[in-house]
Symmetry: C2
Subunit: 116 residues, 2 copies
C-alpha cells in the first residue's frame, strides 16, 4: 500500500491511550477497503491522534490499535459522522465479531535493532 518501510508506531511519553480493536470479518468485504482507507486519512485530522497499527492474519484475526493523547481525542473520533456511518456498516455487514478495549498507557518502550 505504501513504499515506506514497515514500522510499528513508536512509544510515546505516557500517559496516552490505546484503543485496541480486535475483529473477525464476515465474507462480505464490499466497501470495506475504500472505507478503511478513507478513515485512515480522516483520523489524522483529529487533534491528539498519535498513530495507528494494523495487522491481519489471512483467514484469521484482525487487530487495529489506535493511539490518542486523551479521552477527548477518542471521543471526537468516535463521534465523527463518517466514522459513525462506518461503524454501522461494520455491524451490519463486515464483522462477525469484534471487541474494543479503551486503555490508558502507563508505560511503553521501543526496541530498534542497530547492527547492520
Amino acid at each position: 500500500m505504501s513504499d515506506h518501510p514497515i514500522a510499528p508506531v513508536a512509544a510515546h511519553e505516557p500517559p496516552y491511550y490505546a484503543v485496541v480493536f480486535t475483529s473477525v470479518h464476515t465474507e462480505v468485504d464490499s466497501g470495506y477497503g475504500e472505507t478503511s482507507e478513507r478513515l485512515e486519512e480522516l483520523v489524522k485530522d483529529v487533534p491528539g491522534y498519535l498513530g495507528m497499527d494494523h495487522a491481519r492474519t489471512p483467514g484469521g484475526l484482525s487487530i487495529t490499535v489506535g493511539y490518542f493523547r486523551d479521552l477527548a481525542a477518542i471521543e471526537e473520533w468516535r463521534s465523527d459522522p463518517e466514522h459513525r456511518a462506518a461503524q454501522r456498516n461494520g455491524r451490519a455487514h463486515w464483522y462477525e465479531t469484534y471487541t474494543l478495549h479503551v486503555a490508558k498507557v502507563e508505560r511503553s518502550h521501543t526496541f530498534q535493532r542497530t547492527e547492520n
Copy 2:
C-alpha cells in the same frame, strides 16, 4: 493451528490490563515458532492471565495483545525465566523493531453477530 472457531478475546469487566506488543520480524525465524507455542502454553499458568490475541500481516506488522487482571500478573509473566530467555532471543535474532505498551483498560465492549 487449531480447530476451534477464530474469535478475539471477549471484553472482561474493567479494570484489567492490555499489553500491546507490535513488531516487525527479521528474516531469522529459527526457533521462533516453537518458542512462541511454548510461551502461549506457559502464560496460561500465570494467575490473572485473561487471554491473548494475535494477528500478523504476511510480510508486515505483527501484533500480540495479552490481557491480564493486574500489574502483578504482568510482572510475574515478564520475569518468568523461559519468557526472559525468549525476550533475549527476540532482541538478538527475531525482531527488527518492536514496541510494548502496557495499558489499563477503562472500558470495553464485545459485538457478536446474531443473525444467521
